[in-house]
Amino acid sequence: MASLRCFLRSGKVFVVPCDICIINSILLLQVTVRDALNQAMDEELERDERVFLLGEEVAQYDGAYKVSRGLWKKYGDKRIIDTPITEMGFAGIAVGAAMAGLRPICEFMTFNFSMQAIDQVINSAAKTYYMSAGLQSVPIVFRGPNGASAGVAAQHSQCFAAWYGHCPGLKVVSPWSAEDARGLLKSAIRDDNPVVFLENELMYGVPFEMSEEVQSKDFLIPIGKAKIERQGTHITLVSHSRMVSLCLDAAAVLAKEGIECEVINMRTIRPLDAEAIETSIMKTNHLVTVEGGWPQFGIGAEILARIMEGPAFNYLDSPAVRVTGVDIPMPYAKILEDNSVPQIKDIIFSIKKTLNV
């Protein structure tokens, strides 16, 4: 059972129908990340009629990645809106609608296209509550797949976590599991502030167990709190999104060698839960961060800087390091692409170097 779960977490894409496994008389569902997102949106659309979804192909096509499947059929044209291919325009329209009292979910087909609209996200959404000294709030969610996919090449593979994570006034969230996706998307939609919700295309089809508690309509995960996915004593691994799977896989391999890794799933990029990381380092004395994005000025860079500046520095027995994507535009050929992002072996290598074993 344990090994099956590891394989599934590695991000291999295959469609698994929802299985109902009754384990220890607790009703557990196997739910893919895609379905978790879909259900979260469905429930929030039902709960609050000010919530609506707009983006390219979200309605009649059921979503470019089928995340919004069935929603248009259920809610109709008023609440699920297909837009033309004009990101700057429709992102601005979404922000304006939020200013005037609605609660839009603005989907970017991928976050690469959000670059065209980034002015609306930062200057119109993120900064407005501050500039107006509290007169004008912007309750909006920008969501879509972020980061590397498979074979989509340089213009479609960039990770924007660091870009959006840089800006005050935004909350930036990066779910990993189906539970994360569900709880964080609900929280994001209910949040009265602009939230950038970074999904991952390769995770959409991955199933996770979902307990009854998580399935409840008011299950929320607080934005700004990380989760310890695996307890450990020798080293702290900090990661977000798909890389959490790789960290857990690396941890499983190292466990056989007697190295126990503590794996932290950040869940939120901004505000960053530095306290969770510091508490862990005070226990393990070693830190490796793992991300899919580029190294320079990235997520790992911020974490390391904060650790240096904070109380946990004195607990480090060796310098903290980052495992990141290679500092190049994403190539196309499979062998090149595979070697552009962290692999399990890269994480294991960095852990062993840090632990000097």
């Binding site: 837009t83 033309p84 700057m88 601005g92 502030n193």
Partner: protein, 400 residues
């Protein structure tokens, strides 16, 4: 000369009230009287310029009716905007206002005429030349000026400045050229969604009119029939670039292509009002967006750091001032139709001047925002949080 006339008229008025007779001093258009308000014409009809139309059956009527009350109100508001902007000019030169300051004097008829054609329950958004609209949308001169001087009594507590002022149903005040247009269409979408029969007026300038996102917005507003009045305030210059040098087509009212458009005399408050009424009717009847081009003029340069004479001549500015000033136009109309007296209007001027002086006094003496406020208003409806200061040891508090 004027001072002498005032003295004479006061003397004559004094004697008139004793005799109860009506006197007119010679050689001047100053009418001295002891008339009561019942003597004034309650309303009159005025010819207004014909609007060029695009994909519209017809434009607004060629005549507009103005009541005495309306006239006095438009006069007062336009004069308030004019004096407020001129005071801002003064304060800027004294370095009490800093940064960007884009003044609206010359364009008053646009803000006042538009507001006269819609309701306060409608919505409006504009770009950075926003002080006039902040006023017409319910802001006070005091809080506008205090925002310009960056004080805690400012409409945005000093945190926004000239370009970021907000009131109910007024979404600023936006610094990024053109970005406010999709925002405005989004507000219109909310109006339609919530079914309250409200609309959104969405303003931009001749410079912004070439922005791609505006065309994206025209497309979606039209597709989804959003109740949006797009208004291009064409003051002939985008910063230092004349319209001929910036736009392949300067028929801004036609640039919406499939969106019906009107070209309006933006120096005539009545023309603007009538056009706005027509546009509002169009939107409220569910026909979708409409576009208005207001031909107007700004006396100041683009901003306070632009003298405004390197790309246009002083003669041009003077010509507009003498022939097309919006306040003078209204004043002449009212006086020549006996809708108000010179003293009455002068009294309004005095009251306005006083209001501006008081506001300026407040704006220069009110203290700056407290440092505690530095990190507040990052998030709405959130528990208090910590914000990193300039160094790792400085942890600042932020509350909603």
């Amino acid at each position: 000369m004027r001072k002498m006339l005032t003295i004479i008229s006061n003397v004559l008025r004094g004697s008139a009230s004793r005799n109860g007779a009506e006197l007119v001093s010679e050689g001047a258009r100053v009418v001295v009287s002891a008339r009561t308000y019942a003597d004034f014409t309650p309303q009159a009809s005025f010819d207004i310029k014909k609007c060029d139309v695009h994909k519209l059956e017809e434009g607004p009527p060629l005549q507009a009716v103005l009541t005495r009350e309306e006239g006095l109100q438009y006069y007062r508001t336009m004069q308030t905007i004019r004096r407020m902007e001129l005071k801002a000019d003064q304060l800027y030169k004294q370095k009490i206002i800093r940064g960007f300051c884009h003044l609206y004097d010359g364009q008053e008829a646009c803000a006042v005429g538009i507001e006269a054609g819609i309701n306060l329950s409608d919505h409006l958004i504009t770009a950075y030349r926003a002080h006039g609209y902040t006023l017409t949308r319910g802001g006070t001169v005091r809080e506008i000026m205090a925002e310009l001087t960056g004080r805690r009594g400012g409409i945005a507590k000093g945190k926004g400045g000239s370009m970021h002022m907000y009131t109910k149903h007024f979404y600023g005040g936006n610094g990024i050229v053109g970005a406010q247009v999709p925002l405005g269409a989004g507000v219109a979408l909310a109006c339609k969604y919530l079914g309250k029969n409200e609309l959104c007026v969405c303003l931009y300038g001749d410079g912004a009119a070439n922005q791609g996102q505006i065309f994206e917005t025209y497309n979606m507003a039209s597709l989804w029939k959003l109740p949006c009045i797009f208004i291009c305030e064409n003051n002939k210059y985008g910063m230092g670039t004349s319209v001929e040098r910036a736009a392949a087509s300067t028929d801004y009212y036609k640039r919406g292509d499939f969106i019906p458009g009107l070209r309006v005399d933006g120096m005539d408050v009545l023309c603007v009002r009538e056009a706005t009424k027509l546009a509002a009717e169009h939107c409220r009847s569910g026909k979708g967006p409409i576009l208005m081009e207001l031909q107007t003029y700004r006396y100041h340069g683009h901003s306070m750091s632009d003298p405004g004479i390197s790309y246009r001549t002083r003669d041009e500015i003077q010509e507009v001032r003498s022939k097309s000033d919006p306040i003078s136009m209204l004043k002449d109309r009212m006086l020549s139709n006996n809708m108000a007296s010179v003293e009455e209007l002068k009294e309004i001027d005095v009251e306005v001047r006083k209001e501006i002086e008081d506001a300026a006094q407040f704006a220069t003496t009110d203290p700056e925002p407290p440092l505690d406020d530095l990190c507040n208003h990052i998030f709405y409806n959130d528990p208090p949080m910590e914000v990193r200061g300039t160094n790792p040891w400085t942890k600042l508090k932020s509350i909603s």
